[in-house]
Symmetry: C2
DNA sequence: CTTTCAATTGAACATACGTTCAGTTAGCGT
DNA sequence: ACGCTAACTGAACGTATGTTCAATTGAAAG
């Protein structure tokens, strides 16, 4: 059911997808869905939260290098790889924020900020060590993340460039953009 | 009416806004809207197309510098300024593409590609002249645009940084990211 | 004052929505 | 074979949807 909802929300948008459409995709009547979610809004929130929690967990599983440059490269490559493997989740997590209740929004926003702070910390550490030079680490973090997430708008497996090539292209740009 | 639809679409999403809500905002009954648009879908398309046409027109009004570096700086500053002044239009143009009919989508997509091609051309010219070094100009153009458009997700007039400062921060990063 | 006409209303159309719930089903442990 | 339980159905709830259109309005033109 989550899988069906995920695909449909990503394709048509939360507001445009009815519980009956999700049910049909699952092969069940609409009423049956309410054994698994209290309502549509919570279903959306659960999908988003699961995605953000997975993102943070996947980051923690990675070994942390000891210098800022290596950590930035790891972050860059991780972000591209992780996000390109979950286009639907990413799409929803960025586009359906306005369909969350204020409380639910706060939760997701908090998780997102955690992730952004990881990159900001890397940038600050790199500045302290003299390997990076950015005028505003918070904004630089946002800029880098926006750039990397942009991959999802055009990348498709089997296209002109492989994922490894894309990673390299973006890492080159990221590295230079914050270089000392 | 366009103004009301624009605000409501940006705030709640195309699918979540009814013709009656738009009508109420205008101070009119829903039926009256159909004197100004054949249907809801066309209303959305008109808003998006107007935005993209305005974007391209505003670019043409700018004097074109003769070297690639100056043209890239002009593009960067123009993009940030133009987009930050039209948050609702930008939001809709990026988020409601999936609510367009295939034919309408093609039109908007074509306009967007025109804009992206302008940046790609600047990057290619700069590479020819040896002032830029990017491994893939098409992807570098997408990366830069994604980074710049990201400003809209957090920037607000009267925040910690002025628009001029934001321009400078991003120009620093863009310049370095494609530097030779 | 009368005619004209474009703009607007208000009701109606068929259809769809999220959600609830009494009733049916089916598979399990005993 | 029986009872239990969790899952699911199918219908119903009130409300909302995009769109149409005959009827009304109100102001400008003669």
């Amino acid at each position: 059911m989550r899988a069906a909802a995920l695909t449909l929300f990503a394709r048509h948008g939360f507001a445009a997808v009815s519980m009956r459409q999700i049910a049909k995709e699952v092969g069940v009547q609409a009423g049956a869905l309410y054994n698994y979610t209290p309502d549509k809004q919570t279903l959306l929130f659960d999908l988003m939260q699961a995605h953000m929690v997975e993102l943070l967990a996947a980051r923690e599983d990675l070994p942390e290098a000891d210098n800022a440059m290596a950590r930035l490269e790891a972050f860059t490559r991780f972000h591209i790889r992780f996000h390109s493997q979950r286009p639907d989740e990413v799409f929803i997590a960025y586009m359906e924020l306005r369909n969350l209740t204020p409380e639910n929004f706060e939760v997701i926003e908090g998780l997102r900020r955690q992730y952004e702070n990881q990159l900001e910390t890397i940038l600050r550490d790199g500045m302290r060590d003299g390997v990076f030079d950015v005028s505003d680490p918070k904004i630089a973090a946002m800029a880098v993340i926006a750039m990397l997430t942009g991959v999802n708008t055009w990348f498709q497996e089997g296209g002109r460039l492989s994922l490894a090539e894309v990673e390299q292209v973006y890492w080159d740009m990221v590295r230079k953009s914050v270089a000392a």
